[in-house]
């Protein structure tokens, strides 16, 4: 009892504990260090913030339940502000100074790609939370990722369009890395689904009005639907302006708006918008037979209880990342970096918030199109689209 309460007291400051107590306490093994660099502030804060909160919450939960391999977890997390240069410096700090056992992070693709050479060189398991395909294509030995790729989002949307007999669309995208990468992927895979892109508009960072672009789209002859690739406040403004200008076509958003915030920000304007997203958003509406239901409902409730705010799929990426890592460590029976990496690569049937993960040496994400659900917004809430 005495030892346990001491441990509980020491857990948050485990590092200090090791320094001061050293091997004095027999059971106080060195914690497993999990490094993280996230865009907790800056333009991508709505990604990094829930990611950070999710990691904190589950590291505490795991420790309260006895840790992993009989050792506590220690989270060392830095705020990159979404800046790739800072991300690289912090990754170096995690590897060289903090000597972490594995890294989760890189809210954005830029941060992730800047860090890839470092983790490849250092040989440390790295689970990225960024969306773009380039993170895992080509496959990099030490790099894994949890979110669906932007290419999958395009494909899911195009499949839905095909079903609804839409073949000519307009594209409007934002200035961020996510937006640009998704735009490029959509342009690339569009011919495969016989989708013709008639207009290709963009908006800038911090733009407060997109009626000019939408007016142009509205007046482009032949357009049957509009797709907005973007995240942050941009899509909410586009949605409002979309209704203001009175664009009459079906409106698609990407998985970049997959948080309740988007609906709130758009006011009533978001009703009728279709988007691909993880099942997490419709957790309560999933049929009980859905194998994913338990995972997503549990995470959703835990997050809402601890942070008093709605869950987003972005925090879900961090959830998946942490549990994939913990799983791999348990399976490997060690924190040996090479063995954990091998275990990660052999992940099969892992049920995360994003879907079922089946990794392989050629696929370091392990999700397929079924992981996405087509959602539609009705009366200010998510509904399953089909």
């Amino acid at each position: 009892m005495m030892v346990r309460s001491t441990l509980k007291y020491l857990a948050p400051a485990a590092f200090a504990a090791c320094l001061t107590l050293g091997a004095g306490v027999a059971s106080a093994q060195e914690p497993i260090k999990i490094g993280a660099f996230l865009a907790v502030t800056g333009p991508a804060a709505f990604l990094g913030d829930p990611e950070q909160k999710t990691l904190e919450m589950y590291v505490d939960k795991i420790n309260a339940a006895g840790g992993v391999l009989g050792r506590k977890l220690q989270l060392i997390s830095y705020d990159s502000g979404g800046d790739a240069e800072k991300a690289r410096t912090f990754a170096k700090r995690l590897i060289e100074q903090d000597k972490v056992d594995a890294i989760i992070g890189g809210s954005t693709t830029g941060e992730t790609m800047a860090v890839v050479p470092l983790v490849e060189q250092a040989g440390i398991p790295f689970i990225s939370l960024a969306g773009a395909v380039v993170v895992i294509e080509p496959v990099k030995k030490w790099v894994f990722k949890t979110p669906h790729t932007d290419r999958m989002a395009c494909e899911k949307i195009f499949v839905d369009m095909q079903e609804r007999k839409i073949s000519k669309i307009a594209l409007i995208s934002g200035p961020g890395g996510f937006d640009k990468s998704m735009r490029a992927e959509c342009l690339k895979v569009a011919p495969k689904y016989k989708i013709e892109i008639l207009a290709d508009e963009t908006y800038g960072a911090g733009d407060t009005d997109m009626t000019a672009q939408l007016t142009k789209i509205k007046n482009t002859p032949g357009v049957q639907a509009v797709l907005n690739a973007g995240f942050g406040s941009g899509p909410a403004i586009v949605t409002k302006n979309y209704r203001q200008v009175g664009v009459p076509f079906p409106f698609y958003q990407s998985h970049g708006v997959a948080s309740k915030e988007y609906i709130k920000l758009s006011g009533g304007a978001a009703d009728g918008v279709r988007l691909p997203a993880a099942a997490l958003l419709v957790a309560d509406k999933l049929p009980d037979s859905d194998p994913q239901k338990k995972v997503v409902v549990d995470y959703k409730n835990a997050y809402a209880e601890r942070w008093k705010s709605d869950v987003s799929t972005f925090g879900g990426h961090a959830y998946d990342g942490l549990w994939l890592l913990v799983d791999a460590m348990k399976k490997a029976g060690t924190t040996d970096k090479a063995k954990v990496r091998d275990a990660l690569e052999n992940t099969k049937g892992f049920m995360g918030t994003a879907g079922v993960v089946n990794m392989s040496p050629t696929d370091h994400m392990g999700l397929d199109l079924t992981a996405f659900r087509m959602l539609v917004i009705k009366n200010g809430d998510w509904e399953l689209g089909n």
């Binding site: 913030d49 407060t208 000019a212 142009k216 915030e261 006011g267 304007a269």
Partner: protein, 291 residues
């Protein structure tokens, strides 16, 4: 006039009105103190965020707006009292860095007091678009335009007709002379900061329903407001308004007719070109450089 062009112009004027309010804030402070206040955008943020959080907390909108303007003005006064006044006599660049420090500080404070999420305010009077010559405008945009016109008129009266306003203008023309005829220069400085903070806050509140507000919304708006003030001619009220509208319309036309990705580039290239021919902006006050 085609519906398309009308839409671009309406959009441009609405954005431009906001830029104009921010630019007026820059000009008022510049006139009183020769300081460019890079924290001007943060007043916009404080106005919007305070209103949003008060309304979310159940306060009626008009009261929340009034309180938000007061909060922003108080921050403006504190900034003058605690930072600018103490740094009197420092070089222009040093003062710029101080206000940049203030803007970082305020942003850091805002993300603690509130959060890092985006927030939207309910439109004041509904969100049914109004049709104008085939284009559409939101009721909130009319609020933006109406309030901006009112403010510009009020400022015109204040600086042109009242003793206090004239005193402020006098201070900006010649500090020493103003002091000699009995103007309390220190008070004028305080007033300038309070006034321009209030203006910024109003801009932030008006736009919060149209755009969206967050702890770092001030960075971009501050930048655009500064550009507008320079384009019109620093220290000129007419210039600030004209500069703001011109910038808003340029951006909107640029996005509509040329390229949405390059609309800011188009705007800045034109500003640079204007400065090339009129190195002190469109409505520069004529003044000889002191040797």
């Amino acid at each position: 006039m085609s519906a398309e062009l009308t839409q671009f112009l309406l959009t441009g004027i609405t954005i431009g009105a906001i830029y104009a309010l921010v630019a007026l804030g820059f000009s008022i402070i510049y006139n009183a103190s020769q300081v460019i206040n890079f924290a001007q955008g943060e007043f916009v943020m404080i106005g919007g965020m305070t209103t949003v959080s008060l309304v979310d907390g159940g306060m009626p909108l008009p009261l929340a707006i009034a309180l938000a303007v007061v909060v922003a003005a108080a921050v403006g006064l504190l900034l003058e009292k605690l930072a600018i006044e103490r740094a009197r006599g420092a070089s222009v660049v040093t003062l710029i860095i101080i206000t940049i420090g203030a803007s970082i500080f305020l942003r850091g404070l805002a993300q603690l007091v509130w959060d890092k999420n985006f927030h939207a305010l309910r439109p004041f009077t509904g969100s049914t678009p109004i049709a104008v010559f085939g284009a559409t405008i939101l009721p909130q945009s009319l609020w933006v335009l109406g309030v901006t016109v009112l403010i510009v008129a009020a400022l015109g009266w204040f600086f042109g007709r009242t003793l206090l306003g004239k005193g402020m203008l006098a201070t900006s023309h010649n500090r020493l002379a103003a002091e000699l005829v009995g103007v309390r220069v220190k008070g004028m400085l305080l007033l300038a900061f309070g006034l321009s903070a209030a203006l910024g806050a109003i801009a932030g509140i008006l736009t919060a329903p149209i755009t969206i507000t967050s702890y770092d919304v001030g960075v971009m708006l501050g930048l655009k407001g500064f550009a507008a003030a320079i384009l019109g001619g620093l220290g000129s009220g007419v210039g600030a308004v004209a500069g703001g509208l011109a910038l808003g319309i340029l951006e909107s036309l640029g996005a509509g007719f040329v390229s949405s990705a390059y609309k800011d580039v188009i705007a800045f290239v034109i500003i640079l070109a204007v400065l090339f021919f009129r190195p002190s902006g469109l409505f520069a006050r004529r003044s000889a450089e002191r040797v």
